[in-house]
Symmetry: C2
Subunit: 281 residues, 2 copies
């Protein structure tokens, strides 16, 4: 979004597409929005806040047909679900190592060789002139190994996490009244749970859960220092109050069924305690 704002300042025109209540972009909307002036379509493969997957294969096909470059931010998806730049007609794809157990501070920008790129960082011309400066060798090696492991385990791990994720979602929604899932129930990241709890302010909930050893977040890590309602939740039609009453839980390689049990129990007791304190419920 910040990159878009910067482009607007430079005189570019950006079209923002709406999303439905599950957070999905419509391929039809995209089709209609492309004009002869369109230089690039950029759509996240999966949303970082609510986990919703986008129809990137459909979008890729449309862009290729219309002769427009397609970039997807696959940071949340890569290493968790299959992404195939050939199959999905993706011209540019970004991913980040630490999202699948690699080191922090290293990522990949895939670009088809015909894409004209210009560097942000100038100097000694490293990385084919695209990113000058001595390469982050330990990070690159770590990302490579993490990719190999993720590729080998992805299918079984996605299956395992989807089961745990759905168990976590279903039990919270069933056990605690006034809760709703944010994002698509099925077309979502295996490791993402995002739920709104009526009357329970997210920041406070996060702090109380942390005392029980349960780490959750509100909104996205990128905006953890701002206290605005997560714009992603507003975009899917959540009212401001409910948007502020959401938490995000992430599952990972180390998460077990026992962790899910403990988490559900902690969330139930902390939510009941907060609601009793605030007497909203």
């Amino acid at each position: 979004m910040e990159a878009c704002h910067a482009l607007v300042k430079k005189g570019f025109e950006i079209t923002y597409l709406p999303v439905d209540r599950s957070g999905q972009v419509s391929a039809q909307d995209l089709q209609a929005a492309i004009t002869p002036q369109t230089a690039l379509v950029s759509i996240m493969a999966a949303n970082n806040v609510i986990g919703t997957l986008q129809p990137i294969a459909e979008i890729g096909a449309i862009c290729r047909k219309r002769g427009v470059f397609f970039h997807t931010d696959a940071v949340q998806m890569a290493g968790h679900l299959s992404v195939d730049v050939k199959r999905d007609n993706i011209d540019l794809l970004s991913l980040s190592g630490h999202k699948f157990n690699g080191p922090k501070g290293v990522g990949i920008l895939f670009a088809r060789s015909e894409i004209p790129l210009s560097p942000l960082i100038l100097g000694g011309g490293q990385e084919a002139g695209l990113r000058s400066g001595t390469e982050n060798v330990p990070g690159i090696a770590g990302l490579g190994v993490a990719s190999e492991i993720a590729m080998a385990e992805m299918e079984s791990e996605a299956k395992r996490l989807c089961k745990l994720r759905d168990d976590l979602i279903n039990r919270i929604l069933a056990d605690i009244p006034g809760t709703c899932l944010n994002g698509h129930p099925g077309k979502r990241l295996p490791n993402n749970v995002n739920i709104s709890f009526e009357g329970i302010e997210g920041e406070y909930f996060t702090k109380e859960l942390s005392k029980q050893g349960i780490c959750v977040s509100t909104g996205s890590a990128c905006s953890s220092e701002s206290h605005e309602a997560p714009y992603v939740l507003l975009a899917i039609g959540r009212e401001r109050e409910l948007a502020n009453c959401s938490i995000r839980l992430s599952l990972g390689k180390m998460t077990t069924a026992e962790d899910v049990n403990k988490t559900v129990a902690a969330i139930c007791s902390v939510a009941a305690k907060i609601r009793k304190q605030t007497r909203v419920w």
Copy 2:
């Protein structure tokens, strides 16, 4: 240099200062070159090719007096010799972790808080909005530890290396005819040796020495894929042919007097062999 070229394309005017035969910028030249339009002075603390130290304290004092921001690239110097941003009136200073045994791919830009900086990378606003993206945590931690160790050992290590460096230089110059030192004999990095060998092409010399287990380089690592004569050597007045006949040797924490003995012996025998082959000498 690439950053300067890019600024020129954007309409900025750059003044390049000459250097003397040892590679030093003159403080008087700098003083004369500053105009009311000068926004920034940027001068390396120490040159990466020939190791020459610049009079940065003098330059810093001039810039402060004239109200012009002073940036120094201290990548080669930091961790090896004392740099003090307060004492030397430095407004901006860059350094790189791997130059003093830290990890590759991480560095520091010091900037006084009143310096207006704008980010190159936009996004989540990490690092006070100056460099968005998840931080390179392992790199940052490694750089921190490397800095601590370098600070503790710097004085004794610089002394030790200067002795080895001078031994290496003096023995090569004494034992092999048609050699000359590039850069300042005294005001140079403790770990840098750069010598031209008449009639011995640097790239070939490098390959032959590598067979003996001695790794040296020609020019700078940044331009190792180009085969132009090192512009730094041309700038100090070396003729093109002699500039192409130079090698750079770097000393480090692990370098011993025994290594210097072996290196001198290998250089003497390889140089003699090449000169015999090419019959130039």
